[in-house]
Amino acid sequence: MRLPKTSRTASELKELRLGKGDYAAGGAHSLPFLDLDGARRRRPLVFGEVTNDLPSYPALAAEMFSGRQIDPAEWAVMWKEIGSDGVCLRITGDDIPSSVSLVKAVCDRTRLPVVVDASPAIIEAVASEVKDSILMLISDHVRDDGHIAVIGCRDAEEASSVCGEHDAIVSFGHVTEEAELGDLVGRIEGYRARGLSGDGTCSNPVIVDVTYAWDTLDEDWDARRASMLEATEALAVMLAGADMLIMRGPGAADMARVYGEELADL
């Protein structure tokens, strides 16, 4: 049977330089991974989660970092050692000097792209003090200080309206229950579809936090099951078009990286 061509062409999405400038996210010109459409051979970047608030961090996950989790900078270095592309640093509290020092230490010691999730006061202090790395800062507005805002949006319409054509990284929330994964995937796909059809206000890279697989555990769950769920959710959002993933379990992060490499044919 003679078959018609099924390949599709699309506009190119925005590519952003991160960290010391040697990492890039975004830049797709097709649906994710599809050789059929001439997809770019690039996998999503995997960011390992680090926090300075261990008491509220799941013990099941903490056990996997061999004691290095007690020092956030050391923990970030461990993520680099196990192959992470970046670090997501969650800072609680309002100690600005120590927070700035921590971000600088993580940037200097890992030389990886860093996402910072902290209070607005800490975010602004970090933005003004760190000049040798392009940080991704969780904020509610776009930035023009050389760093990139990570902006939470409900859907493509809000992302278009808040970001316009400014450089930013868009987040459509996270999965808190299995049933919500479909909604999240739908939001990412909707945004990507608009960008690929030429809407320049929907062409920024997308980041997705899949760590919440570990927060939904009940007493029957163990680390293996949580890792499998986190890796599967990572697979779902990368197929939907996520450019960056924030992950908690080292095993899950490794699986997500391997999945991305296979799908991108690297």
Partner: protein
Amino acid sequence: MTGTITFSDITVGGDSPAVLSLSITDALGPQMAAVRIVEIMERTSDLDNFKAVCIRDDISDPEIYAETVRVVSTVWDGGIILESRNPASLLTASALIGNLPLITGCDCTSLSELGSITGCPVAFRSADISDLLDMVESSPVGCVIDPATDNMKSCLERNTDLHRLSERIPEADRPIMTRTWSGEYALAVASVSVMRYGSLIVIDDLDRDGCVILNGLADTFRGHRN
């Protein structure tokens, strides 16, 4: 929306969540096959999308295969997929099952003949999409199409290609089946299929954790596959 077929009173395709199936081999022998089916039932009894089991003929002896099918079908009242390279095994075994099973595993000509004789729907398998759709065109019975994916990448590419073709060629408008193995990588391949248009997923084996995760995905993505 894809076309549908029915086997063992189970509808595959359309708006239905992906139908999931674990496998039993006749190499276990009838006694252990009985143990295996009970184990599968215990593992998946609360997981609504595990509606079928695949009984695989690894010995290629029609009598042994038929005995395994008989043992399983006395305990299991869900969907049955019969898989064999030997048409005689499929013919003998399909006669033992009241509700028409899905048959697969041998060449296109044999499957079409078996379909005509038994009335059972069939699963055609080929990595060549053009060949696969030729098989559909010549099929006298309802069918699912298996693009013979051997990894996540080929699953994504071929399922997407078939889905796009289904909008333009009636032969491609059939439920897509994915056949995969055991363990975490099999879960990944099955997950890609569930998220990208797969309607029937046959897995050699998956532990309870993997079954729970895959079952949840099948529910979540029922509205996204079409």
